[in-house]
């Protein structure tokens, strides 16, 4: 797996993935729907898979002493590492935003712990939806991205609507840290759990469907 992961970063990684990581700094924008920042990693994953298709990555990988399921796991692990990096890099910017001498985010959820928990759920949904569709037919990477990004935007719309319409979101979750810290840490824990469960589930299902598919060259 370490060798396959190395292959992912040395050959398959699209340069925009690194550039998008820097967009975690958008957390400094005073009023902005911060969920969008984490969607950029999804876009990077799409570019990686698109570029992999154009570079016949699967043919190259299949000729190496690997198993098909391992190829799938390495790609998903790379996506998880990029997503984690995007979240971790965003943390100091979120702290800076919280300490700015101005009101909280007027465009949506504040840059707080809840945002990270809810964003992890969003990334879990992206991973499940994208990789499930992608590994059914790796030629149709655009279809997989349309499905996944549609779900993500619906999730974002619901989350931001809740922020305005649901008192618990508005009064408890959308507050500066460390207010309601217990509630927020629970949301973060749920976010991590959902992300892990959905990503592990898609790892298994995608490996199964890829294992059974014919590779057309």
């Amino acid at each position: 797996m370490a060798d396959l992961l190395r292959k992912e970063f040395k050959l398959a990684l699209h340069p925009t993935a690194i550039i998008f990581l820097a967009l975690s700094a958008m957390m400094l924008i005073p009023n902005y729907p911060y969920y969008v920042i984490f969607f950029y990693t999804g876009l990077a994953v799409f570019f990686i898979c698109l570029s992999a298709r154009e570079n016949n990555d699967v043919v190259f990988s299949m000729m190496l002493p690997t198993e098909k399921g391992e190829i799938v796991k390495a790609r998903i692990l790379m996506a998880v590492l990029l997503e984690t990096a995007q979240l971790v890099i965003a943390v100091p910017f979120a702290v800076i935003r919280q300490n700015m001498d101005m009101p909280g985010n007027q465009a949506g959820m504040d840059a707080n712990i809840s945002l990270f928990g809810l964003s992890l759920i969003m990334l879990g949904i992206f991973n499940y939806s994208f990789f499930r569709a992608y590994y059914k037919d790796i030629k149709k990477v655009g279809t997989a991205f349309v499905k996944a990004s549609t779900l993500v935007f619906v999730y974002m719309a619901i989350a931001e609507t809740c922020d305005h319409a649901v008192p618990f979101f508005k009064n408890v979750l959308d507050t500066p840290d460390p207010m309601y810290i217990t509630h927020k840490l629970i949301v973060l824990a749920v976010g991590i759990a959902v992300f892990v469960v959905l990503t592990l589930a898609v790892c298994r299902k995608a490996a199964e469907s890829f294992e059974g598919s014919d590779i057309q060259m």
């Binding site: 040395k10 043919v59 299949m62 002493p65 690997t66 014919d214 060259m217």
Partner: protein
């Protein structure tokens, strides 16, 4: 972990491979490869060469059939088998814009048996510039780079899908020379081609596939020797001796040529209809593909 202690004479055994597509079908494809020989896998475009080769490495899943490398079932020992086999599928069309040295650096980590000195030696021998990308290499150099990669992990069996396709005659000849040199060192080679002169030059054995079915698996010389060409001035008559025994009939600018089995060609009926000549592989392939009917 599988054990490869006992070495069977056959390095690859394929038995009863079936694969059905809406417009094409592999039917009971069976063959085996003898250690240290060059085997040409021949057939016209669309005959099933690539589908068969892609089935060997699990790119395509056969509906049924058994594939054994070195006496081990592929699905049970995929990881170990891939370490001993160099598979070149459809040319080197991957990562065209990455430097050769980067691709090599990634590849070599997958093989415990990687031999850096051998790799450097092949890179020098084939005059491959590691600073270049596959996109900057000629078709011939791409195949040679694939060979260098396979040989540097001490592959015992090389399987290549149309490696000579798109090569100029000189590059093709050089590549075939390389194949023969590798064969002398005990490496087994299976390569598909529709260029019959490739096989005339270097193949020990031949596997002929037609419409998804293997119609011959034999030594190259005995295959060629099992046919003769009958040259006739007139079109063979319907229901006559010639059309009854023809394996293929082809119209020429002057007259007709008829492919006959060697035994039939020795009959007085054959010599009564024209002159008998030896057939080469191209004659055999063209006539077999045309069949017994006159297709002009």
């Amino acid at each position: 972990m599988s054990s490869f202690n006992s070495e069977p004479a056959s390095v690859l055994d394929v038995r009863g491979l079936y694969k059905k597509y809406p417009a094409f079908e592999l039917k009971d494809v069976s063959f085996s490869l003898e250690r240290g020989k060059i085997t040409g896998f021949i057939g016209r475009n669309g005959a099933g060469k690539s589908t068969t080769l892609n089935s060997l490495f699990n790119f395509v899943h056969p509906d049924s059939g058994d594939i054994e490398f070195f006496g081990e079932n592929f699905s049970d020992s995929e990881f170990d088998i891939k370490k001993r086999v160099g598979f070149v599928a459809g040319g080197i069309d991957y990562y065209k814009n990455k430097k050769i040295k980067t691709i090599t650096a990634v590849t070599k980590r997958f093989y415990e048996s990687w031999d850096d000195a051998a790799y450097k030696s092949y890179i020098n021998e084939f005059a491959i510039d590691e600073e270049k990308t596959p996109g900057q290499l000629s078709a011939g150099m791409k195949v040679k780079y694939a060979l260098a990669l396979a040989l540097s992990h001490n592959a015992e069996l090389l399987i290549m899908d149309e490696p000579t396709s798109g090569l100029d005659p000189v590059s093709r000849d050089e590549l075939l020379d390389d194949f023969m040199a590798l064969c002398d060192r005990g490496i087994t080679i299976l390569f598909s081609t529709h260029i019959t002169s490739d096989l005339d030059k270097c193949a020990d054995d031949i596997i002929y596939i037609q419409n998804g079915k293997i119609i011959a698996e034999t030594g190259m010389d005995s295959f060629v020797d099992s046919f003769r060409l009958l040259k006739m001035d007139e079109e063979p008559s319907e229901g006559g001796w010639v059309t009854g025994h023809a394996r293929g009939i082809k119209r020429m600018r002057k007259g007709y040529t008829v492919l006959l089995g060697t035994e039939d060609a020795e009959s007085p009926d054959a010599s009564a209809n024209g002159t008998i000549e030896k057939a080469d592989l191209e004659d055999i392939m063209i006539h077999l593909e045309k069949g017994g009917r006159n297709n002009g």
